[in-house]
């Protein structure tokens, strides 16, 4: 890499906004030449065309195309009916992937939302709230790849007797007498839970932030009134806090469900789906790149979309209602 390449690249980086500013300047000059009636009609389209042409090429057309490809063979040369979908729901690895996604869905969603709420409620009562919350929120800023490395190191396993360099095994072998070090990522009985724990570590902060804002949104007067009526902390939490935060909790849980269905990076980096840890998104990547079967990969993606569709409808419906 020489200086010229760097200069060229920096030029490109700076050029992007310049191109966009020029675009809007030129179209506005052109539109101004038209008669006022036509101006009013055409102008909006010029302002939304850049966005919608990109969306059309990168999202709308591909979604339709992928659905069609899912009914075709590996290199998309002929239609083969629902064979790819039969594969998705009968192949043993795919069944493991579907099972694991379900496992992720239940455990991940339950723990991120519950822990997020718990931490929001606890930190709400102390002076150093923002500092404490920053600790939990921080993993959201780093990549899943980095988080994968961090936790692979946490889970590092050495045979019994050797000094453990993985934090988890070290803590457990020293504090619990007779504890046998575990190969967290290799033992099929626990490796899925080990991966899900990483996901929880990353996403709890996200839930906490939203739930904490929801908590602050509850008017003080309501809580005060309950206290005057003699309600204890516990009762207030279950009878007032939770019901009032129901819609916030729903939003958070929906977001987590959408996330968890698409989970990819953690599995790709930490186990690559081996030893019964496969998930749908990682399987789709493998079908696409390792096996070059675009039909099956498309079918897997379509199943993913169908699983997410209810969440999409909830989103649209809620938007329509509130407007």
């Amino acid at each position: 890499m020489n200086i010229r390449v760097i200069a060229l690249m920096i030029g490109a980086v700076a050029g992007v906004p310049v191109v966009l500013i020029l675009y809007s300047f030129i179209i506005e000059k052109l539109v101004e030449k038209l008669n006022p009636g036509l101006q009013k009609k055409l102008r909006p389209w010029f302002w939304i065309i850049p966005a919608f042409s990109l969306l059309a090429v990168f999202l709308i057309y591909p979604v339709i195309n992928t659905v069609i490809l899912s009914f075709k063979n590996a290199d998309s040369t002929e239609f083969i009916g629902i064979k790819n979908y039969l594969y998705v729901f009968t192949n043993s690895t795919m069944l493991i992937a579907l099972r694991n996604n379900l496992l992720w869905l239940v455990i991940f969603t339950l723990f991120t939302v519950t822990l997020g709420l718990l931490i929001a409620v606890l930190t709400d009562r102390v002076k150093y709230e923002s500092v404490a919350k920053a600790f939990v929120f921080m993993p959201m800023a780093i990549s899943f790849v980095a988080a994968g490395v961090i936790w692979k190191f946490m889970y590092e396993y050495r045979p019994k007797g050797a000094p453990q360099i993985g934090t988890l095994n070290a803590i457990l072998t020293t504090t619990l007498p007779g504890f046998e070090p575990k190969a967290w990522l290799f033992d099929p009985a626990i490796n899925n839970f080990a991966l899900i724990a990483v996901g929880i570590w990353i996403w709890t902060g996200f839930c906490m932030v939203i739930l904490s804002a929801g908590l602050k949104g509850i008017p003080d007067s309501v809580i005060e009134a309950a206290k005057i009526d003699g309600a204890g902390e516990w009762r207030i939490f279950w009878r007032i806090t939770i019901p009032l935060m129901k819609s916030t909790i729903t939003v958070v849980a929906t977001t987590m469900v959408i996330n968890v269905l698409k989970i990819f990076d953690i599995v790709y980096v930490m186990t690559n789906g081996n030893l019964n840890t496969e998930v749908i998104a990682n399987r789709m990547y493998k079908e696409m790149f390792s096996f070059r079967d675009f039909g099956r990969a498309s079918a897997i993606a379509t199943v993913l979309l169908i699983a997410i569709t209810p969440m999409m409808l909830i989103n649209i419906k809620r938007f329509g209602q509130r407007r």
Binding site: V13, V16, S24, E28, E32, K41, R43, P44, W47, I48, A51, L54, L55, V57, F58, L59, P62, L69, I119, L122, A132, A134, F135, F137, M138, P139, I142, S143, F144, V145, V149, I150, K152, F153, M154, E156, P163, T167, A170, V209, I210, A213, K216, D220, D265, Y268, V269, N272, Y285, M288, I300, A301, T302, L304, L305, N315, I316, R318, F319, R323
Partner: protein, 319 residues
């Protein structure tokens, strides 16, 4: 329309609400001025478990990252033979060699540069393009406006996996695979639904009167957009920029697919995931490589946390 104002003011008032609540919590229900030692002790005993629980939680969330950081400064033979917590015993043995090694031979310096090259335009482009669209959506009337916007809401959750194969085929035909331009466009498109959604919420709330007076002064839409809309939308744009930058910087899947794994253009996430697969046990290199990739996000996180939180809140109270 009104609910949006409410949400935004709620978020902006979050801080004052926080203060209110903590004040309430910390002045024990009655006679604050008569606090004596035993009352303080009782308070400490009662609140002790609370502080302890929070301490444990913070520890749980901090320890993994801290272990990685410490290990990245330890000599390879020690990383592989003893736990990182042992390094606090004398004699201290810390070194910068791992970082030097990873930066000079491990392709990490190049990847860091690539990550920047990918993330900066992929942040600027969607924000500007989305702001154009958001401006039209909020202040111009056209047939199909509401339908298009609902479609956008639907696109918010479409899994990227649905788009990979067709887009990759288009890229192969246009020779965009393995180029920065290709990945800029892809990230821009993927970021657009959220960006338009968030900016429309904000731009739609600007008071209409400022536009009217600007038009009366003879300003055209170009002037109004760049002199009025963009500057006043800065709070929303800052949130969005923080978000999009972190999202692109931390992305693995999109880079993996459209850049085809060529080391010349690979961002750090791709390079590190290759390191994980090939080295297996080279912990001293993995830890330092991972930490290099985390430096920028962590700095951004601590300096722009406010915008990040605001972005999450507006995004999640969607609709």
């Amino acid at each position: 329309m009104r609910w949006r104002t409410r949400n935004y003011t709620k978020i902006q008032n979050e801080k004052s609400a926080e203060e209110k609540i903590s004040v309430k919590d910390f002045s024990p229900k009655s006679n604050m001025n008569k606090v004596n030692r035993s009352a303080l002790l009782i308070k400490l005993l009662r609140r002790g478990p609370l502080h302890f629980a929070i301490l444990v939680i913070c520890g749980l969330w901090f320890l993994p990252t801290f272990g990685l950081l410490v290990s990245s400064f330890r000599p390879p033979d020690l990383v592989m033979s003893t736990g990182w917590w042992k390094s606090f015993k004398t004699p201290f043995a810390f070194t910068l060699d791992n970082y030097l090694h990873v930066l000079t031979t491990g392709n990490m310096a190049r990847s860091f540069f690539n990550s920047l090259m990918i993330a900066i335009p992929s942040t600027v482009m969607p924000i500007m393009i989305a702001a154009f669209a958001a401006y039209a959506f909020s202040w111009m009337k056209f047939p199909g406006r509401d339908v298009l916007f609902l479609m956008l809401i639907g696109l918010l959750v479409v899994p990227i996996q649905m788009t990979l194969i067709p887009v990759l085929r288009i890229f192969n035909r246009l020779h965009l695979t393995g180029t920065f331009l290709g990945i800029w466009l892809a990230h821009t498109a993927y970021g657009l639904p959220f960006a338009v959604y968030l900016l429309r919420n904000f731009i739609g709330e600007l008071p209409g009167s400022i536009f009217e007076s600007a038009f009366l002064d003879g300003a055209n839409h170009f002037d109004i957009f760049f002199r009025l809309v963009l500057p006043t939308s800065m709070p929303a744009i800052s949130s969005l920029a923080t978000f999009q930058f972190l999202w692109v910087w931390n992305d693995l899947l999109v880079a993996l697919i459209y850049l085809g794994g060529t080391p010349r253009v690979a961002p750090m996430t791709v390079t590190i995931s290759n390191l994980v697969n090939s080295y297996g046990g080279g912990w001293e290199l993995l830890t330092s490589a991972a930490f290099i990739s985390m430096i920028l996000p962590i700095i951004l996180f601590f300096s722009l946390q406010k915008y990040l939180v605001r972005g999450i809140l507006t995004g999640s109270i969607k609709g």
